[in-house]
Subunit: 311 residues, 2 copies
């Protein structure tokens, strides 16, 4: 019996957040559809932020509505506030990802709220969800800057743990622990994630790592050792954070799938299909910087997916 690990593709959301090209809705939807066809069922399909803030997501409602209906998809959408969550739930996605930062300064800069105000907003989202979509839409509580902040510097682990506890008490169905600015190191990941997992009990926990300083995949290995089995990744390593200058983006979907399969975890991902999709996404986004190594170096001659290797 091969153990499973899961990737959630955040390219159509986190990856597109800072690119120069406004991608047409049909391409975003094609990206989601082909991600699922490549065996990656969890896709963060869009963000319900104000179009005045991120024009890329002016088509959020349309993209979410069509993508949420793709066969086999578990579509999620990001929402920074109640209004965004209302729109996300109305669009038909299976999960809404609410984001706040563990760093007060980052939260103020990013969503213009104190952390207390963000948790109050999340409580309003839970009330709304329970009223209109109970049992149908999951709510994920994401904690950005969980491993440090470009504005505030160090973020006390106690702050992250307290926000996690409050998220769960309010009603989060899942926690997402994010290294928004790429400050995490493997020792820190192992320590924090062990504690988060024991707080979370049977509620799923996802790690969201950026590869800003080259430690992204080393952090994945440490999170795996702590017991984490779900990771946010972005095709071609697209994505960054407006408050993390020089950031090289999310960990790369293809490379992370390769790592997990090499370590014996079945991800269900067809890496060759992802690489084909990647070539198209690259052609859609001229002038962007793409990351990842498998795309240029290829899989090793010795590579076998974990499910086959175990037979």
């Amino acid at each position: 019996m091969v153990e499973q690990a899961h990737l959630r593709e955040v390219g159509p959301r986190d990856g597109l957040q800072m690119v120069g090209t406004i991608l047409p809705a049909e391409r975003k939807i094609d990206w989601c559809r082909r991600t699922v066809a490549a065996g990656l069922h969890r896709v963060e399909v869009t963000s319900f932020v104000a179009p005045s803030v991120v024009p890329q997501f002016a088509d959020a409602a349309e993209v979410a509505r069509v993508a949420a209906a793709v066969l086999g998809i578990e579509a999620s959408a990001l929402a920074p506030n109640l209004k965004g969550a209302e729109r996300a739930i109305a669009s038909g996605v299976a999960a809404v990802n609410f984001v706040m930062s563990a760093s007060e300064a980052h939260n103020l800069a990013n969503v213009r709220r104190s952390r207390t105000q963000s948790l109050e907003e999340f409580a309003r989202i839970v009330v709304h969800r329970d009223a209109v979509a109970s049992g149908r839409v999951l709510l994920s509580g994401c904690i950005a800057t969980s491993f440090g902040c470009t504005i505030a510097g160090a973020v006390p682990e106690a702050d992250v743990l307290e926000i996690a506890e409050r998220y769960l008490a309010i009603g989060a169905d899942e926690l997402i622990i994010a290294d928004t600015v790429g400050y995490a190191n493997p020792a820190q990941v192992r320590g924090l994630m062990s504690r988060i997992l024991s707080i979370a009990g049977d509620r799923p926990v996802t790690c969201h790592f950026h590869d800003t300083r080259g430690l992204g995949l080393a952090n994945v290995v440490s999170a795996l050792e702590a017991g984490v089995r779900c990771f946010d990744t972005s095709l071609a390593g697209l994505g960054g954070c407006p408050f993390a200058p020089g950031a090289s983006g999310n960990i790369d979907t293809e490379d992370t799938a390769y790592l997990l399969e090499s370590l014996g975890f079945d991800t269900g991902v067809d890496i060759a299909a992802l690489l084909e999709l990647r070539r198209d996404v690259e052609s859609w986004l001229p002038g962007e910087q793409f990351g990842g190594n498998i795309a240029s170096a290829g899989l090793p001659k010795t590579y076998r997916p974990a499910a086959l290797a175990a037979r």
Copy 2:
């Protein structure tokens, strides 16, 4: 008390092996000198291969002679055969690194010898060293393609362990276990390196990883967990292998130093000084591809060297 970990800079050798520019000897020597000034004392300064094979190293004797005399340096040089080792020892370096591959096919392609013939050549080098430089020059036995081979595919762990044992029996003072083509994964690293360390006893063991498929630093973490404390790295991630097409080169010195320090290991390395040197090396090698993340993203605001953080 902070535990130490050591980097050996292989940029002036492995890094230069495939670049298009023939770097003048004085620049190579400057690179070595400034590496030591940045706190990195072990430097592989050149390769004593035939100039007809790698013209870059036609100046090996001069570079080795001057670099070996740099205050505080522990200079090593690569030698693929007895003749190279004789020249290396005559140049005054402190250590000679002999290379053979665990893969028979790779060894035949790389040095045109069977593995048995390579071990016989190493034995001749030991005899020569004992005759002319006993107690003054250390001999390192490097095992290339220890984690897989682009020609042969999988490399049995038993082959690597057998070569390690034979190296030690013949008289190697140190073992270098190399992932020449970037096939290693963290699980494989932990398994092989634990066994290598128990074979090696008190003789030092160095890991030489390439970041070809993005797992370089994750492999460093696994090797650390197995007990390895010495790593070959290359400034700006320069370097590759003629038999590993698309390879993105050695793990990056700056990023690896950042990783080790973040994990609490004192490397003695001044990362800012390395980044300054890197800018010059980049300007010396126009048209080359450089790797690494710290150079573009910078150190985290929260970064403190391990030796300071422990106070």
